[in-house]
């Protein structure tokens, strides 16, 4: 039971990365009906931007320009990096997706993949192949709750990601911008005729998704403080799986599926040898999609004639 709970805590942390990244896929999908395959690498870029911002803030603080506690630096890092990375997302949209809006969707997928490769290689060329260690901004405190070890970092990561997911949900439900996004997801041909600026809305979804990916990147840096240029690939593809599993374009679904994927991976590794993790996790996903091909919250697809 203790082992189970311990793994549950780990799975919650692991799943929050997937959930935050999957949200970005889902946001873009809801309007453009295509997946931004560069998203995993935007997560990586966000993590590096977070590294840069936190180093700059630490330097400022150590010169005594501003006396700030470390937790405030972390909060500022997250906010600044989300802001900066949202521009990366908008640039990716402007360069890679806007010229291809009327092209077949597979072509846009290829551009996305290629932009991802450019981001990875560009990072490698700029910063070299060494791994960068993320500054440890908050000291780790471990709480022992009946044999289950919970660190303050884990609690923070899970809380922040849930908070961000909730904020996005509220944004999409409650604000005028969110209403425009939902309307566009419902019918992206008619809504621009009603005076909703199409390009701005699409850029907004890219910005939101990238900001969340940046938050995930910094939280990842806090938990596992080693960054490398290729870290986005595996996370990106797995979060993509989660976004699909949740049902396309669904905020709730993407969050849930992200956590579910985290749980599956952690618990498979708990029961079986950890080398079997991918094998079993993906077999389960294959089974789920075979019996529920449209994900948890998606619309079913049918091309068979119903007579």
């Amino acid at each position: 039971m203790v082992i189970f709970l311990q793994n549950l805590v780990n799975a919650l942390q692991w799943g929050s990365f997937y959930a935050l990244i999957a949200l970005g896929y889902s946001m873009v999908y809801s309007i453009l009906m295509l997946f931004n395959f560069a998203h995993g690498d935007i997560f990586m870029v966000g993590s590096y931007i977070g590294f840069g911002v936190s180093m700059a803030l630490i330097a400022l603080a150590s010169w005594g320009v501003v006396a700030v506690p470390n937790w405030l630096i972390l909060v500022l890092t997250i906010l600044f990096s989300m802001f900066l990375t949202s521009f990366v997302g908008m640039i990716v949209e402007r360069v890679g997706y806007r010229p291809l809006r009327d092209a077949p969707r597979a072509s846009a997928a290829i551009t996305g993949l290629m932009i991802g490769i450019i981001l990875e290689t560009g990072n490698l060329a700029l910063l070299g192949a060494r791994r960068i260690s993320f500054p440890s901004l908050i000291a780790t405190t471990t709480y022992d709750v009946g044999g289950v070890f919970v660190t303050n970092k884990k609690i923070m990561i899970v809380l922040v990601s849930l908070l961000l997911a909730l904020a996005l949900h509220q944004f999409v439900r409650r604000t005028k911008w969110g209403m425009a996004i939902r309307a566009m997801a419902f019918d992206s041909a008619v809504v621009p005729l009603m005076g909703v600026p199409l390009n701005t809305m699409i850029a907004l979804t890219f910005a939101l998704g990238s900001a969340l990916a940046a938050a995930a990147g910094i939280l990842f840096g806090v938990a596992y403080p080693v960054l490398d240029p290729y870290m986005g690939i595996l996370f990106g593809w797995k979060a993509f799986v989660a976004a699909i599993l949740g049902g396309r374009g669904s905020v709730m679904g993407a969050t849930l599926a992200g956590f579910l994927l985290g749980f599956t991976e952690i618990f498979v590794a708990m029961i079986f040898p950890s080398t079997l993790r991918d094998l079993i996790a993906y077999s389960i996903i294959l089974l789920i999609l075979t019996f529920r091909p449209h994900g948890f919250f998606g619309e079913p697809y049918s091309a068979r004639l119903r007579l």
């Binding site: 360069v95 290629m114 450019i118 699909i244 091909p293 091309a303």
Partner: protein
């Protein structure tokens, strides 16, 4: 453009394919005979291997020399020989054209092989690059059947390739190599080259069986969900192989016999191009296009969509498996890491660069991306900025690829061009 047409292209408008082959043959023979002395005269250490691209990138001072070399060895002799032999080659092509198509095609292929053999004979590096390029052509074509002709977005190709590669390797290593997998070799090595095709075909069949796992879910879903299913399949295959101690898990399998030489790979590639071209021009090939354009309408028009989908997946996976088997025997070492996301991105890039729904396009895409990859090697990692940028530009200006939706009409390709083109 008009100037270019009038002065350069018109004199060559009546050259049949045979004429171009003849010119290329002259050029590669010339390189064989006079390449090394000329290279030394021009101050190059040896014959530039890939048309001098890597030399130019490594040492920009030598650019004029390399261009001069290329002009003297390839372009001028080829142009002169092609232009002078127009009436001769047209005559030969016309007389060849009276024979059955198979013979005409065989003569052309023999000539093509002779050109490639002479060209590659200069260095081992060229042989390796050529074999890998031919394998890339097979892979790209087989993916084009699924992604181009049928319009799915399948990401499982590295998985099919891995199945074929491992199955063929296990067979050849297990049966013909001592003390590798199952102890002493059970068959004499002399039999090997004869049983090698069997191993490749079995590898292809195993890949086809694997393809059922993607094909059957494709009945109920398509688009993004199928992309995920195929992606999951790819991860599963990779992870499965990593966990199989029998094939040495992540350490990889090495010591495959050296049977995949240039003629073998060339023959298999020809077989692959021929069968895929015929497949896509057949009724079921047209049914694939119907399924892509509108599945419901296709079904209403009596197309059996399930059968069409399953056949396309099995067929594409079969050739991917064969290509994987050849790849394993060219490299003589495979490990699960060969068949990951990186490989997927490469194959997808080749398909979409060259053009969907087109055999020409796949050949052009595979050849240009592999050669570009080799030629830009001196740039190290910047290679992976230039190639993606190029691909993005192609996608922006030609979203379906360079040469999309074009049939490979062999008869039209091989026919003599006696009369000047009146259509233009």
């Amino acid at each position: 453009m008009g100037l270019l047409n009038r002065n350069i292209l018109v004199p060559f408008s009546r050259v049949p394919l045979l004429g171009w082959f003849f010119g290329a043959l002259v050029a590669v023979t010339l390189e064989r005979l006079a390449g090394t002395p000329l290279a030394q005269v021009l101050g190059l250490q040896k014959i530039p291997v890939l048309f001098g691209l890597s030399v130019m990138l490594k040492n920009p001072v030598l650019i004029p020399n390399v261009i001069l070399y290329t002009l003297l060895i390839y372009i001028v002799p080829m142009a002169v020989a092609t232009r002078l032999s127009i009436s001769l080659t047209n005559g030969i092509a016309a007389s060849l054209f009276r024979f059955p198509m198979a013979i005409t095609a065989a003569v052309h292929l023999a000539l093509l092989y002779a050109i490639l053999h002479l060209w590659a004979g200069i260095s081992d590096y060229r042989v390796l690059v050529l074999r890998l390029t031919l394998i890339a052509v097979m892979l790209t074509l087989s993916l084009n059947v699924i992604n181009g002709y049928m319009g799915e977005f399948s990401c499982s190709h590295p998985g099919f390739m891995a199945l074929g590669a491992y199955c063929a390797s296990v067979l050849t290593i297990g049966l013909f190599v001592d003390a590798q997998l199952v102890g002493v070799a059970s068959l004499p090595p002399a039999l090997g080259p004869f049983l090698f095709p069997v191993a490749l075909i079995l590898g292809g069949c195993v890949a086809s069986i694997g393809a059922l796992f993607v094909a059957i879910p494709s009945f109920r879903t398509r688009g993004d969900y199928l992309a995920i299913i195929s992606l999951a399949f790819m991860f599963i295959v990779k992870s499965l192989i990593e966990n199989l101690e029998f094939v040495r898990g992540p350490r990889g399998l090495s010591g495959q016999p050296d049977w995949a030489d240039l003629p073998t790979v060339f023959l298999w590639t020809v077989l692959c191009v021929w069968s895929i071209n015929n497949f896509t021009r057949s009724t079921i090939g047209k049914a694939l296009n119907a399924v892509r354009d509108n599945e419901m309408a296709a079904e209403a028009m009596t197309v059996d969509t399930r059968r069409t989908k399953i056949v396309a997946f099995l067929f594409g996976a079969f050739w991917a498996g064969v290509a994987g088997g050849l790849f394993a025997h060219v490299m003589r070492y495979v490990n699960p890491g060969n068949f990951g996301i990186q490989n997927l991105a490469e194959v997808l890039a080749m398909v979409y660069f060259g053009g969907l729904n087109s055999v020409y396009g796949s050949i052009v895409g595979a050849v240009s991306i592999s050669l570009l990859g080799e030629a830009l090697r001196p740039l190290e990692i910047f290679k992976w900025i230039i190639i993606p940028l190029l691909l993005i530009l192609v996608m922006i200006y030609r979203p379906t690829g360079l040469i999309a939706f074009r049939d490979l009409d062999v008869k039209n390709l091989l026919k003599p061009k006696q009369k000047p083109d009146t259509e233009a």
